[in-house]
């Protein structure tokens, strides 16, 4: 894997979420992006019954055989898929989770030359909270060596100047990038979105809907009927 940066896309209102996602998809397709499936990152938060400590359990479709357990201190345990069975066993005696607090970020995945771009709508429970763009530059493993290149691609997409990477990455510019760094960035955004107010009236988009409007020629049998 290469270096990944995850950015929040500014959205002005509830309607803007869907249209902003569609606009981004269109821009990426204009750049020569080839739609290459979908992605999903999810996060379930458990609380230790006796100590009250939180544990975030994350999955990333880019690493389907791994489960990431992130603690409040930032420590991240990478485990294999059996970790879910273990959490099922320890829930609810040792760890509890609240219904409706699961965070999911899902959407289309594009390949643009050496980059992989993902547009993900973040939902908490059933309410849509925000839009994230993930950009991966595959040929490089050190952020400092490819940040300028990624910035050049991301600035027009986000419509914002990016003076430096997100805080987590800015502290690790010269380190070898690992999948845990991606998870940490998602967690930072998920935490920020959890604290924010839900976008009133915004509904989670129907699966597969994002990006389907990007290609005006794309029609489903239903829409033709």
């Amino acid at each position: 894997m290469g270096v990944v940066t995850v950015h929040m896309v500014p959205c002005s209102g509830p309607e803007a979420l869907q249209s902003t996602a569609d606009n981004l998809c269109r821009m990426i397709e204009k750049l020569g992006g080839r739609r290459d499936g979908v992605f999903c990152v999810d996060c379930e938060t458990y609380q230790n019954v006796s100590m009250g400590r939180f544990q975030h359990v994350l999955h990333d479709s880019e690493h389907p055989a791994s489960v990431f357990s992130l603690l409040e201190s930032g420590l991240c345990l990478v485990a294999d898929a059996n970790f879910d069975s273990l959490m099922n066993k320890l829930n609810p005696q040792l760890f509890t989770t609240k219904i409706g607090t699961k965070v999911e970020c899902k959407g289309p995945r594009y390949q643009v030359e050496d980059f992989i771009l993902k547009i993900g709508t973040v939902t908490i429970g059933t309410s849509a909270r925000g839009l994230l763009v993930e950009c991966e530059y595959q040929p490089c493993a050190v952020t400092a060596s490819c940040w300028e290149l990624m910035r050049e691609l991301m600035e027009p997409l986000l419509g914002l100047p990016l003076n430096q990477p997100v805080q987590y990455l800015a502290l690790r510019m010269r380190e070898i990038y690992t999948p845990v760094d991606t998870i940490q960035q998602y967690m930072e955004h998920f935490n920020a979105l959890r604290k924010s107010n839900p976008i009133q009236g915004a509904q989670a988009p129907v699966s597969g809907q994002i990006g389907s409007q990007a290609n005006p020629n794309a029609q489903t049998p239903v829409s033709r009927a």
């Binding site: 499936g37 420590l75 345990l77 990478v78 294999d80 059996n82 879910d84 066993k89 040792l94 029609q219």
Partner: protein, 262 residues
């Protein structure tokens, strides 16, 4: 030899698997749902474009099958261990390859649920001779020994391969080290059965696995299979194999509750 302390039976309870060698990392790379576009042109019209919904299969595996460990245990004196090893080498698979060795440390961490006064324990295991192998986190359930129709101990086991920061992770979650031991020995495989011939060592200085002291002058033998529940035929298969090791070693289902020294 020191008298067996209370930790010993608990240790016996926990050494069923030196699973690092058998590569029990069961994380299979699932094929993720990918966007499938079927485009057909018929009479100049694009008639169908079907897209798979976003990640059809949830990433969290809520209904992952719980595996049961079927287990038989026995012991043999050090002086006779070589005879047993030779017999196992002949009986087990890959008899022409060198016997696989292991040298693992296992640490048992516990946490108390203050509301119910219940204690949960998780086991962290690492290969001392090959530390870059994944650590192993294990949950071992209460063994079912009461069923007289069943020939083996049966208990729920979940094994998870993890990164090397497992011990820090357990500590930060509030788990505390209860006891630790080092298991050193040989591992054999016969079909789906795993046979361990191992020497259990007490760690004299906590945190220093070099300072070891054998718990007894015997090797512990374990015959185990990880399988879905209700596999009654498995007991017969294991019994047949255990019979072939007689009279060198008597493999039995051991009631660990009775071993605890009061």
């Amino acid at each position: 030899m020191q008298p067996l302390g209370p930790a010993v039976p608990s240790a016996l309870n926990g050494i069923a698997i030196a699973g690092l060698r058998l590569g029990e990392m069961r994380g299979k790379f699932e094929q993720q749902s990918s966007s499938v576009r079927i485009r057909q042109t018929l009479g100049g019209y694009r008639i169908m474009q079907a897209e798979a919904p976003i990640v059809e299969q949830p990433l969290t595996r809520k209904n992952a099958a719980n595996l049961q460990e079927y287990l038989l245990q026995g012991s043999i004196l050090d002086s006779s261990a070589d005879v047993l090893l030779n017999r196992l080498r002949g009986l087990c698979d890959n008899s022409d390859s060198p016997v696989e060795l292991f040298h693992d440390i296992e640490q048992v961490y516990t946490i108390k649920d203050q509301a119910n006064q219940a204690t949960f324990s998780l086991r962290a295991r690492n290969a001392l001779d090959n530390p870059q192998l994944p650590w192993q986190l294990r949950y071992v359930g209460q063994p079912e020994v009461g069923d007289k129709s069943r020939f083996t101990i049966c208990r729920s086991v979940i094994e998870v391969g993890t990164s090397s920061n497992l011990v820090t992770w357990l500590n930060e979650l509030g788990f505390r080290l209860d006891y630790e031991f080092v298991a050193k020995g040989h591992i054999f495989q016969k079909g789906r059965m795993k046979i361990l011939v191992q020497k259990i060592h007490r760690v004299c200085q906590s945190g220093n696995p070099e300072t070891l002291e054998p718990v007894s002058q015997s090797f512990l033998i374990e015959l185990s299979v990880l399988a879905p529940p209700s596999q009654e035929s498995l007991g017969e298969e294991m019994k047949a194999f255990a019979d072939q090791l007689r009279p060198l070693v008597e493999l039995e289902k051991v009631d660990h509750a009775r071993l605890h020294v009061s």
